[in-house]
């Protein structure tokens, strides 16, 4: 048998051969591994995750929403809900948001809690604001890309939203 003209009889071996060819012809960019390693610095065990539960970009009304470049996002943890409206102008984004308790407690008045929202990108914290009495917050001139919001207060541990591509 001439090795250079053999073709694996087994499908799995044929797929492995094709996989090797694909890796030679069209590999992931060299820096994509380093980027993947670097993302681990964003891992924080202590934060509670507020998962993305609604996104106008991926909902039924997506086509209409994307034409106006306004996107509505809703993040939820057991403790807090964060709602965000992102308005895109060119490659800059304006954010209007509101934080409230997912299940409002009966005993403690929420007005007394001072909450700070941090806007984070992969380069770290970019800005922070104290939310107003109605739980609202605002960021202007946010660069397009991956962002998340961390909400911290004196009384609770941090809650971080899922990372989202804005």
């Amino acid at each position: 048998m001439n090795a250079s003209t053999s073709l694996p009889a087994d499908d799995a071996d044929l797929m492995a051969l094709l996989g090797g060819i694909a890796l030679a012809l069209d590999p992931p960019p060299a820096n994509s591994y380093d980027i993947g390693y670097g993302l681990f610095s964003l891992y924080r065990m202590e934060d509670e995750l507020a998962a993305l539960v609604a996104d106008s970009l991926t909902s039924a009304g997506a086509v209409r929403a994307s034409t106006t470049d306004v996107r509505m996002l809703s993040f939820e943890s057991s403790e807090l809900t964060v709602e965000v409206q992102s308005s895109r102008i060119g490659d800059r984004i304006a954010i209007l948001g509101q934080v409230f308790e997912t299940e409002p407690s009966q005993s403690a008045p929420t007005e007394s809690v001072v909450r700070v929202v941090y806007l984070e990108t992969q380069d770290g914290i970019q800005a922070s604001v104290v939310v107003d009495a109605g739980g609202r917050f605002e960021f202007d001139d946010v660069p397009a890309g991956l962002v998340r919001f961390r909400v911290a207060s004196d009384e609770t541990s941090g809650v971080a939203t899922a990372w989202t591509q804005l």
């Binding site: 073709l7 590999p27 960019p29 991956l146």
Partner: protein, 225 residues
Amino acid sequence: MKALEGQVITMAAGTAQEWRSTRERDGAVPGQDDVARLLERAAAGEQAAWNEIVDRYTNLLWSVGRAHRLDTAAINDIVQTTWLRLLESLGRIREPERLAGWLATTARRECLAVLRHGRREDAGWSDDDFAELPDEKAPALDLSLLTDERDSVLWSCFVKLSAQCQKLLRVLMAVDPQSYAEVSAGMGMPIGSIGPTRMRCIGVLRKLVGDSGYPFDAASQGGRT
């Protein structure tokens, strides 16, 4: 598109079933236990374990993006977002042995969001894979990078496959056989057609190779299809 989303959402039970049957057929799967260990170690904060996960699966994520015919910048974003989703889920992965399927599912969802944002449609999966023409929009790759003529001929045959077959095989060639079922389901394939479609696509590829005129070893062309 809506039907496709439904398949993605409802795939979990069927995938697990197909995955189990694959596993039973193939016996114990080497390497799966240490995926669980890697996830545990990464969840505990160990960078080296995370790096190993990135090393193992970056090519799969890249292949999912390529299978959706996205460009390098879009795929880079999708790979990053998929890793961030995994970071958010570390410590809460219930079936670590299905990590490849989870990653493919997550990356595919991000691909669909990109396609939708750009007002492009994903072709989805049709039952009639073989009536379709080859994928004319696939990026042209530089075959001169291949030193072995056999590989050039094989790849030339691969790009003559229907767009659907290329899409499926492009992703499956990036994973071990024990992950075929879960990764196919993660790509939105209807559960019942995963195995048959894969075998038919490989069968067509073998036929194209046979018709190519290149003197492949005759004994190895029949294959298990």
